[in-house]
Symmetry: C2
Subunit: 214 residues, 2 copies
Amino acid sequence: MTKVRFTITMSVDGYIAGPEQSAEDPLGKGGLALHEWVFPTRSFREMTGEDGGDTGLDDERLRAWNAGIGAHIMGRNMFGPIRGDWGDESWRGWWGDEPPYHAPVFVLTHHAREPLEMEGGTTFHFVTDGIEAALERAADAAGDKDVAIPGGASTAQQYLRAGLVDEMDLHVVPVILGGGERLFANLDGRPSGFECVELVSSPAVAHFRYVKGG
Amino acid sequence: MTKVRFTITMSVDGYIAGPEQSAEDPLGKGGLALHEWVFPTRSFREMTGEDGGDTGLDDERLRAWNAGIGAHIMGRNMFGPIRGDWGDESWRGWWGDEPPYHAPVFVLTHHAREPLEMEGGTTFHFVTDGIEAALERAADAAGDKDVAIPGGASTAQQYLRAGLVDEMDLHVVPVILGGGERLFANLDGRPSGFECVELVSSPAVAHFRYVKGG
């Protein structure tokens, strides 16, 4: 049975992107610092075609996570800075020719667009009929594996509010951003039923793992 | 040189007390769960006059913290549920005859009241002339030791905004409260200059330790 899983990095003050996001600063001011724990890991370097990298707890967590994911769903703002119509469709994501997903990615949008096949197994599909339709298509594409929701905040909150999230991996980093996009906001109360089944940390990040209670 | 130090427990979604605080529910709905990591430790049991308890990381952190503190500053709402005038002064805090502070505690209030001496070395002093005056008196009382600010949120934020905090121990627990008092809010931007010098965790809590950069 395909599960829906978050893996989201959050600053200790609760933000998953910094303030003033823009085309030049897609993660907002200071937001890149959220992900500094990822860059040195061997599994991230493999995903981006580089050698070397650190092993250890953070690498293990990232590797185990990636191995189980067969498709992704993301918000349109996570795919790019363009609002409204897609225009000349020259925007192909933030990640260059070979995005680090290596799997189908379903982008939530109000504006239709043909699928966009990138190198390395990532194809962006643009879904205009809502979060449940996106999940259905992503679950089909994932097969035996799970569906990941990497963000952004609004997309994560929509799936949480709808009760469609089965597992959450929250990676809390010591960064204090002071502003930006909060993960835990606009939720009409507490996301209910999640049980923390693991808490471990490296000097760079604390990994909180939650599953929906049975 | 006396330093000002936070030790504050926060839910992973950013709250240091739950919603709907009241005389019956001083930590708000679900708020007591924030402190569950503390209760089983040997050092907490010692503070409350009980034997036994767990040793290990959480106990060590709490013990090291307590050893260095010579005085506390807290907000009036942390001292009690009474608003406005103190009335018959029968309210003596939430903690019974022997509060777990064992040191002078300076309570920020707009309403004067005589000092209140409790058992075990805790005396509550009521300070009506602001956070800087309270800090001056607490620093005098602390001698060679440091001044702690246990909360609540508004008091913590006032000292952060004024740039008067030297060190922060944030204890982040896996609890998701969904509402309540946020620590990182009303701060007019990022509390600046803090560097995370340690991140360690037990299965119950991740301890983030910050010091003000030199």
